[in-house]
Subunit: 291 residues, 2 copies
């Protein structure tokens, strides 16, 4: 870092590695509501959702910029806590907060730009091929469930978001395509299918459903976990010849095979235990708000 | 550009030149009001205010990311026009829009991250030295006046913001310090003074006051132009031995000497024709709203 925060712009000396650049916002009343969580946790989450995009390309976060919209009522201590939460999460992930912008606004909004470096291959959404095996890291459904409970006015706590940076770098060596699960597994796999011009199938019975989600939703848990979103796990398409290498990776987190890429028009089929397609209502599962 | 918009992150291959990174927001009801200007012009302005920060470091914009908060009532055509305005301005300045984010929000907010490259020296705010001559590009006060008139409910048009990228690169070769004039000449010079631990004097009679501002405000025009802000011109501190080289630069815009850097505690003095300090009310000149 040649010039840090406080000047017109920050300045850094790049390496020869590809730079990865992403921007994402957390907006009050859209992505969260006031009181759902602490300012420090909001800062951590704002970092995590952006780091997830860098991880999904096979990169590691390096530099962060934060643009804050802060309502007049927000105490300075809360802003400090938010920035400290962000900054600590960034540092733990090998990144530095090098600049930002502060503006008054009618509500709290945190827009982060994260710049990462790819130590090896850059993996996009567009390389999936028929026959690829689909895997997902971690477990699904816990955050989606917590968000819907909080939105329904019930008490609850947002689970910490996973950090899959090291896993993303390892998986990038073998993957045809990778994406992070933010909109929902089925929706994000749909993005991969469209970008890669392939179809895909998910076997619901194989999904790594989070315990809290399984317990709360019973037999509805699998479809919920496949569509709820907010997981920030990695979904990855691995060609068959890389499966032995995949088995040798020391990922440090759960990795579950959940389906296959297939020939055909871009579409995602969710299959039940009998191998029959499950219909998913359009617009997702907001009726689970009272789950 | 290795990966453009539409994936989890964009990917670019950097050169060895220093990278400059800045982020800035334009927020409805804070930085502008609905109806003040067209969506395309808002897009252009969002690019220009960020390009100004890159220019003030001696760099050229290369890659842009745009995070939009869009109210539900905004027609798609307006969003398209805004992004097209931004994108065209970026392209004309040698930069590419490589990614972004779109979120619903209660009001329109445009947060831009601009990544530039410095072809030569990176100039900060902190290098000004006693004896440096202070210069400013272009003319001051026109946009500040237009904003206050519009805010007061009067008819008017926001002038186009200047593009000082090529001037910034040329001035960076000679400058001890540089900053763009966004808060107001006196305020921004104050930032330079604090960062450089110096004092500074501005001779109000030498200020390049915009014609519209001079005409509207008469003898108050100079103090207004020194404090109104929104100019996005470059303020630069040049050491005496570089004045001959400065005279040889072909800047392609007006450059006016307006004062000097001096020894002393960080402070900016505005001097009238008699060389006496002019008192500037705290909080700037919002009472000019009805100017």
């Amino acid at each position: 870092v040649l010039v840090g925060p406080g000047d017109d712009a920050a300045a850094v000396r790049p390496t020869r590695r590809p730079l990865l650049l992403t921007t994402d916002s957390l907006i009050e009343s859209v992505h969260f509501r006031h009181g759902w969580t602490s300012p420090a946790d909001l800062g951590r989450r704002a970092f995590a959702v952006n780091a997830s995009d860098i991880a999904a390309m096979g990169g590691a976060p390096r530099y962060a910029l934060v643009a804050l919209e802060i309502p007049g009522r927000a105490p300075v201590a809360e802003i400090d806590a938010l920035v400290a939460g962000f900054s600590t999460a960034a540092r733990r992930s090998g990144a530095r907060l090098i600049g930002g912008n502060l503006a008054r606004g009618p509500h709290l909004a945190i827009t982060v730009t994260l710049i990462g470096e790819a130590p090896g291959r850059v993996v996009t959404r567009s390389g999936a091929r028929p026959g690829d095996h689909l895997f997902v890291t971690g477990a699904l459904g816990a955050t989606g469930l917590a968000v819907r409970r909080l939105a329904a006015g019930r008490r609850g706590r947002l689970p910490a978001l996973p950090n899959r940076v090291s896993q993303g770098i390892l998986l990038a060596r073998l993957a045809h395509a990778m994406i992070d699960v933010s909109d929902g597994l089925a929706q994000d796999l749909g993005h991969v299918c469209r970008a890669s011009s392939v179809a895909a199938e998910i076997e619901l019975a194989r999904l790594p459903v989070a315990t809290a989600c399984r317990r709360a939703l019973g037999e509805r848990a699998e479809v919920f976990a496949a569509t709820a979103g907010e997981d920030y796990e990695l979904l990855v398409a691995i060609p068959p010849h890389q499966l032995p290498a995949l088995a040798r990776l020391r990922l440090g987190c759960r990795l579950t095979e959940i389906g296959r890429v297939a020939r055909g028009r871009p579409a995602v089929r969710l299959l039940d235990r009998a191998g029959l397609p499950v219909r998913v209502p359009r617009g997702g599962f907001d009726h689970f708000a009272r789950a």
